[in-house]
């Protein structure tokens, strides 16, 4: 099987079959990424379309110094960001209140059982309700955390590659993913909090 990079070179030279093979290989991943970044199926469809049309237009500028997937995800992440910015949205509430609480000695104030409730959320919440709250939580992340979190933790792209996609140092990616994960952990936990 041809590598993505070979297909990209052939597509840039005008090979329609190679281009269509790239679309088939990446359309599911780009759509899922777009959905996770925008939180909306209609917007995800727009982002998917914009991503591949932009990729077609700029294929000749793709240099094989990076992976094709890195290049394509960068286009998709930018398209999702532009799309979010052009749509009117209701202001979202910050997830800051879901950060863990500590006492004056720096110890968790919650009990182990309270801290771990989130691990049982799929048994405690209806699947549709959880899906809706998951999307809502990701949308409430600070913009600078959203793409690093989605790419690293949801798309499971290695930290170094996420850095390459977003133009960030790996340490910055780790820090933003960490902050996002802590906020989302708290957000999910609050949905199923054990009340004493």
């Amino acid at each position: 099987m041809n590598s993505d990079e070979i297909l990209a070179a052939r597509a840039a030279a005008g090979d329609e079959t190679a281009l269509e093979e790239l679309v088939r290989r990446f359309q599911d991943r780009v759509y899922r990424l777009a959905y996770r970044l925008t939180g909306d199926e209609e917007e995800a469809a727009d982002v998917l379309q914009e991503t591949f049309l932009a990729a077609c237009r700029h294929l000749s500028s793709f240099r094989r110094e990076s992976r094709f997937s890195t290049w394509l995800y960068r286009i998709a992440a930018n398209a999702a960001l532009m799309n979010r910015r052009t749509r009117t949205r209701r202001p979202t509430e910050s997830l800051e209140p879901y950060l863990p609480a500590f006492d004056e000695n720096g110890r968790h104030t919650a009990t182990p059982s309270e801290l771990q409730t989130v691990c049982r959320i799929e048994d405690l919440l209806d699947r549709k309700a959880l899906a809706a709250r998951a999307v809502e939580g990701i949308a409430r992340l600070p913009e600078s955390y959203r793409a690093p979190f989605v790419l690293r933790d949801l798309e499971e792209i290695p930290t170094a590659e996420v850095g390459e996609i977003l133009g960030l140092k790996p340490a910055t990616v780790r820090q933003r993913v960490h902050r996002a994960r802590i906020m989302l952990r708290g957000h999910l936990n609050a949905l199923v909090e054990v009340t004493p």
Partner: protein, 85 residues
């Protein structure tokens, strides 16, 4: 690193899980975890959060969208916008 508490340990968690900590920091965080069931519970939920969200947001590309995407790409290749090769 002798006075690690839950609050300062959390700041190191991502680097700890990704193997980016120095040996000293790693020893300190592991010593803290050995005696702190709250942090053990927190780490478990911190590790599980991405998997929960991944499953909850695994959108599938609708078949009609896949067909229209391919049609758009073909059309764009046939008729590139003016000024483009």
């Amino acid at each position: 690193m002798t006075d690690l508490v839950c609050a300062s340990g959390i700041d190191l968690l991502m680097d700890y899980l990704e193997g980016e900590l120095s040996a000293d920091q790693r020893t300190a965080i592991e010593a803290h975890l050995a005696g702190c069931p709250r942090c053990v519970a927190f780490v478990a939920s911190y590790r599980e959060t991405p998997a929960i969200l991944r499953r909850a947001t695994a959108a599938k590309l609708p078949a009609d969208l896949s067909r229209s995407l391919l049609a758009s790409v073909r059309a764009a290749r046939r008729d590139p916008p003016p000024g483009r090769s």
